[in-house]
């Protein structure tokens, strides 16, 4: 069991190294560098070339890669060209915002998916199931960016139940109750929009797991023991069906990243997704690289978490 986790962790390192190489090479392939475009055209090209040499921009790519990774390991992600501040500093607050958005979204995702999946699976092919399945099909078919806009328009502008942008009301002291409450209010609508769409996968997955497990032979064994219907469901069917869902938790994180890019853009929520969009539009390459790298690492860690959860909950996976 521990062996499995250690082995799985060891695999993660080459994955992250490969990721960093790919991100670095792709960044290098982007046209231009820090000394092109923004430089006064009157400066002597020879001087620019000399500056390039000084900054090490003419070194072979692997030397520059080692240099870059060396900086990364010391927590140095470079400096933003546009904001003229350390990327780490820029990313920090955004990362915290995105983290809370992710937590709230995952919370709502499971809050919706588990009861709906259970109802749909236990009473499959009833009108209740058809209603839920109908919702999931609509959810599959609705693009997130359209749905988020509709949510924003209805609940933000028309009903004015929620704030329509930002992550906190300006002028509040950080740490006070009002500040936290305001943060929560700003979080609610984007998280709900994302969750209502993202949850349909989990609903369908849980439903089919339950329908599948219901027909297994060991369920007949449980009934033959004299277990009541509710015990059969709670102890045997739901437990066995929820475990693979738990294992999907990590991949859910990966899926969230794509969603946050849309949602943060639409709600003007200052998180990593919005930073990603802004930095691309502003050609702020150091920030783009940092954000892509962090997204990549989050995906790898998501897969890692999934595998570890799966090994914890399913005894058949554990490696001896």
């Amino acid at each position: 069991m521990w062996k499995f986790i250690v082995r799985r962790l060891v695999i993660t390192f080459p994955q992250i190294i490969l990721l960093s190489v790919l991100v670095f090479i792709m960044a290098q392939m982007m046209p231009g560098d820090a000394l092109s475009g923004m430089i006064d055209p009157n400066i002597d090209p020879a001087a620019i070339e000399k500056q390039r040499e000084n900054l090490g921009l003419n070194d072979p790519w692997h030397e520059r890669y080692v240099d870059w990774v060396g900086g990364l390991l010391q927590g140095d992600l470079g400096e933003s060209f546009r904001f003229k501040m350390e990327v780490t500093e820029l990313v920090e607050q955004r990362l915290i915002n995105s983290f809370w958005l992710g937590v709230a979204t995952l919370f709502f995702t499971y809050l919706i998916a588990i009861p709906l999946g259970i109802i749909s699976g236990r009473w499959n092919d009833t009108w209740g199931d058809q209603l839920i399945t109908g919702y999931t099909y609509i959810g599959f078919a609705t693009p997130l960016f359209i749905f988020a806009l509709v949510m924003l328009w209805v609940f933000g502008f028309q009903l004015q139940w929620f704030p329509t942008g930002g992550s906190v009301e300006p002028g509040l002291t950080p740490g006070s109750f009002d500040y936290v409450w305001s943060k929560f209010q700003h979080l609610l609508l984007p998280a709900l929009s994302l969750a209502l769409i993202a949850t349909v996968n989990t609903v369908q997955y849980l439903r089919s797991e339950i329908v599948d497990t219901k027909q297994k032979d060991f369920i007949i064994t449980a009934r033959a023991k004299g277990a009541s219907e509710s015990r059969v469901y709670n102890r045997h069917i739901f437990r066995n069906s929820l475990l693979p869902i738990a294992a999907f938790f990590g991949f859910e994180i990966t899926g969230l990243i794509g969603g946050t890019v849309f949602v943060e853009q639409i709600f003007g929520y200052p998180g990593m997704g919005l930073l990603f969009m802004e930095s691309i539009l502003l050609r702020d390459y150091t920030v783009v690289i940092a954000v892509v790298l962090l997204f990549g690492i989050a995906s790898i860690l998501g897969a890692l978490i999934s595998d570890i959860i799966l090994s914890l909950v399913d005894p058949r996976i554990r490696i001896k």
Partner: protein
Amino acid sequence: MSEKLLEIKNLKTSFRIKDDYYAAVDDVTLTLNKNEVLGIVGESGSGKSALAFSVMGLHNRAKIEGNILFKDQDIANISPAKLNKLRGDDMAMIFQDPLTALNPLMIVGDQISETLLLHKKNMSQKQRKDRVISLLDQVGIPYPEHVYNQFPHELSGGMRQRVIIAIAIANQPELLIADEPTTALDVTIQAQILDLIKDLKDDMNTGIILITHDLGVVAEMADRVAVMYAGQIVEIADVHTLFENPLHPYTRSLLNSVPNTQEGQDKLHVIQGIVPSLSKLPREGCRFAARMPWIDESVHEENPVLHEIKPGHFVRCTCHKHFYFPDESKEDSNHGVS
């Protein structure tokens, strides 16, 4: 000795296919006494398991007609709560596939313990664990304390079948239904499992319904045998009579299909055709008629019923008087009662 434990009267279990109901068990009447082993034999699809599931109330969406009297209580259409009190306690079932009949995510100990938990409310956790370990020991599992904490996938097929038996006998049931308990196992393990079931019967005075298509198992274990074909009982007799003087063409065909090692036969005897599927079953006349086409159709009864040939020996339809195998002459067939 001959105290009635289970009495099945005119049981008809039907399944819905599209808009019609089709009977998988059709008008079955049976009795089982305490401390008796009743073998039920027949090909796959003859309704043996459907009968067993009906008695245990394990069918999900079936229409059940007739009566199933268990200790004089009709359990055919009993409330789920009352049925759950009986299942696992007074009556239990051994399932045929040890690879799928156990919950893959639950340790073996907990799966056996669940039966105790459901029916012996006043047992402490410690008592339950001790009982489970003694049960594991009783069914011949080595290192029961160790196996208690193992998952099903860590055990072999034979071991898992023993665990399933341990679950079934945990509360010393009065009625035990064994649905092909040895089909999935190899022959040496088969013998051990059968001995185990025999010992249990002697220890606990249990009435056993043994469902199998292995005639050797029936000969070894059963006191009486019922032969089922297409949802009906076609012949029922005590085990000696059935093997020495089989009457119904189906019974004779089954026995004839057993390979004989002594006479060095070159060809395996087979029964022509296959068991018809549920929706294509002939509902009138002798159901076996289609598989003995060389016999004149006029010998069958219009509505075959069970005839008592000798006390305790019942045969359906009168066609057995005229039956012969295609490779023997008509005269040879006149053995037994005619």
